[in-house]
């Protein structure tokens, strides 16, 4: 495609994932008693599973990539590796510039702290100074629309309020790479609309966006490339429509015309209902 060619020639690499494998250890038994019993009965004490299996891809600066796949296919693990929360067992992940975003619907907040205190803490973790945080503070508060709840502990927030605040902090960080993991899964319709517009604004300012979603409609609207994971392996990397086709998301309801209608409906609802 010409879009891709233009980009390959121009922009620098933003995210380079090279041969990344990540194992998780599943433990059935933890105490000495449990382990002894399991050994005697000949059961496994633990087993590992591959959350990511030799995943390799490169994302250029300014690209907007949709990361798709079924639940448990490794999308969130991949985002955790890109954000630096986790490190790969083998292979390497390299990124350029400041990273911000949401992983698995919520931000890292401290339940005992108020919304206000969490904004400052969260921004500090992203590397902002007190002055820099003060500068974006009003915008963050305005965008999150939490009103008086801002002074009560985050632990009392509803899941919608929680993700509003997390999203609001993340989008107001001047990041070079923005990660969005199922941000629209919670939150009401007006807020979803606002989130979608904000993410488009981020994309249009030339920042790299990695967007995880099950909603074909919103991926179509947001992204110009789709990467699909299946049981931790990269199974598709390329055009958005083909990627959605690959996952059969569009065909869930049988006839293709009906599927197209559903896609459009999902688009107008900003997609998170899929």
């Amino acid at each position: 495609m010409t879009l891709r060619q233009a980009q390959d020639a121009g922009a620098a690499d933003s995210i380079v994932v090279d041969g990344v494998t990540k194992h998780f250890t599943l433990r059935y038994h933890r105490s000495i008693k449990d382990i002894t019993v399991a050994k005697m009965k000949g059961r496994a004490i633990s087993n590992t599973f591959k959350a990511l299996d030799d995943v390799t891809f490169t994302i250029k600066q300014g690209e907007s990539v949709g990361l798709m796949g079924l639940n448990g296919s490794g999308k969130s693990t991949l985002l955790k590796l890109i954000s630096g929360v986790m490190r790969p067992d083998t292979g390497s992940v390299k990124t350029r510039g400041q990273i911000a975003g949401l992983i698995a619907t919520g931000a890292g907040f401290h339940p005992q702290l108020s919304g206000r205190e969490n904004i400052f803490l969260n921004a500090a973790i992203y590397g902002l100074s007190e002055e820099e945080t003060a500068e974006i503070y009003d915008d963050v508060v305005k965008f999150a629309e939490l009103g008086d709840h801002l002074n009560s502990p985050v632990g009392n927030y509803s899941s919608g309020q929680y993700s509003r605040l997390g999203f609001s902090v993340a989008v107001h960080i001047d990041s070079d790479i923005f990660l969005a993991d199922e941000v629209l899964a919670v939150g009401d319709k007006p807020f979803k609309k606002k989130c979608m517009e904000k993410m488009e604004e981020i994309r249009d300012s030339g920042r790299t966006v990695v967007y995880v979603s099950h909603a074909a409609g919103s991926v179509k609207r947001m992204c110009d490339r789709v990467i699909c994971l299946e049981s931790g392996r990269l199974v598709f990397d390329g055009d958005v429509d083909e990627g959605i086709e690959y996952l059969h998301y569009g065909e869930d309801d049988g006839k293709s015309s009906a599927a197209q209608k559903r896609l459009d409906a999902a688009d107008s609802a900003l997609g998170a209902e899929v």
């Binding site: 933003s14 300014g62 690209e63 907007s64 929360v85 350029r96 907040f109 005992q112 803490l121 070079d176």
Partner: protein, 299 residues
């Protein structure tokens, strides 16, 4: 539909392609002092949250311990025999021991207690044990002030040794406490048993240092093998605290020091500080080796 890639501006990022969230361990903690400050403030307000007495618990704990030890060890069991100002001897030891046990205990729990942040955000994980140590240091201040007031009321004549002894003792406990907090907080993520083991160590420490009894008792018991007792850095720190506060209160400081303090206490103190720094480096190496497994094991 999506705007084409070639129609959008591309931001030029003036940064090298590098692993995300690079971590230089304790060095990163030092570099990101503002974040550390926020975490310390959070710990201070969070440690006694939802309790009516709040921060007073950090006074009540050592004060009640003081009363118990003074009554049972000092008065009933007679550990204070022939000692001037036994309560000051006891309290001086208690202040520095409490600093250590609080650092050790809270530090060990620090990673588990912050899993909400650790599972979602990339940051130097050493922040949390270090923050625990600093919070304990903050709690040490009022107790030390009480100690100073009591000493002054008892007719304290501070010697030149008071301030350097105090600083060296603090240095030992800060380095050793942070080293243990790093290793045990890590181990506690993998096996919760370590959290319980800390209580045992804490109990041993209270009896294994010269605060309820004078060091001369150990000399009577161990004779020329009493150097074994001094291998414990916390014992050295406690003795330095006795040198800083208790000695100056007694009638004949020189005689008291000769009787109740070991020879070459300065050498022991400096040695303990050096050993604690070495342990801190080892702790950092162990922590760096296993820290990338922390987020997936926090459940």
């Amino acid at each position: 539909m999506a705007t084409g890639v070639d129609e959008r501006p591309v931001r030029i990022v003036d940064a090298p392609l590098a692993p995300p969230a690079e971590n230089l361990g304790l060095l990163s903690v030092f570099k990101r002092r503002y974040l550390l400050k926020l975490l310390v403030q959070r710990e201070i307000s969070g440690r006694y949250s939802n309790s009516i007495l709040g921060v007073f618990w950090s006074y009540i704990n050592p004060l009640t311990q003081f009363c118990v030890y003074w009554l049972f060890m000092g008065k009933i069991m007679g550990a204070d025999k022939g000692m001037e100002y036994y309560p000051i001897h006891l309290f001086a030891g208690l202040v520095i021991v409490h600093f250590f046990t609080e650092t050790f205990g809270a530090g060990t729990r620090s990673l588990l207690g912050n899993k909400g942040l650790l599972k979602k955000m990339a940051m130097p994980k050493e922040m949390f044990p270090v923050a625990s140590m600093l919070v304990s240091l903050y709690h040490l201040v009022p107790a030390t002030l009480i100690l100073i007031v009591v000493c002054v009321l008892s007719g304290w004549t501070p010697t030149w040794e008071a301030v350097p002894s105090l600083l060296l003792a603090l240095g030992i406990v800060m380095a050793l406490g942070t080293a243990l907090a790093l290793v045990f907080s890590l181990a506690n993520v993998f096996f919760r048993d370590f959290g319980s083991a800390v209580n045992i160590v804490t109990n041993y420490i209270r009896f294994g240092v010269p605060m309820m009894y004078p060091f001369s008792m150990i000399v009577d018991f161990l004779g020329d093998k009493s150097w074994i007792y001094l291998l414990n850095p916390i014992s050295d720190a406690v003795l330095l605290f006795q040198q800083a506060f208790w000695i100056g209160v007694t009638k004949d400081p020189e005689a008291t020091a000769a009787k109740h303090l070991p020879d070459n206490l300065w050498m022991w103190g400096l040695g303990a500080f050096g050993a604690s720094l070495v342990l801190l480096v080892i702790a950092q190496v162990i922590f760096s080796k296993y820290e990338n497994k922390i987020p997936e094991r926090l459940t």
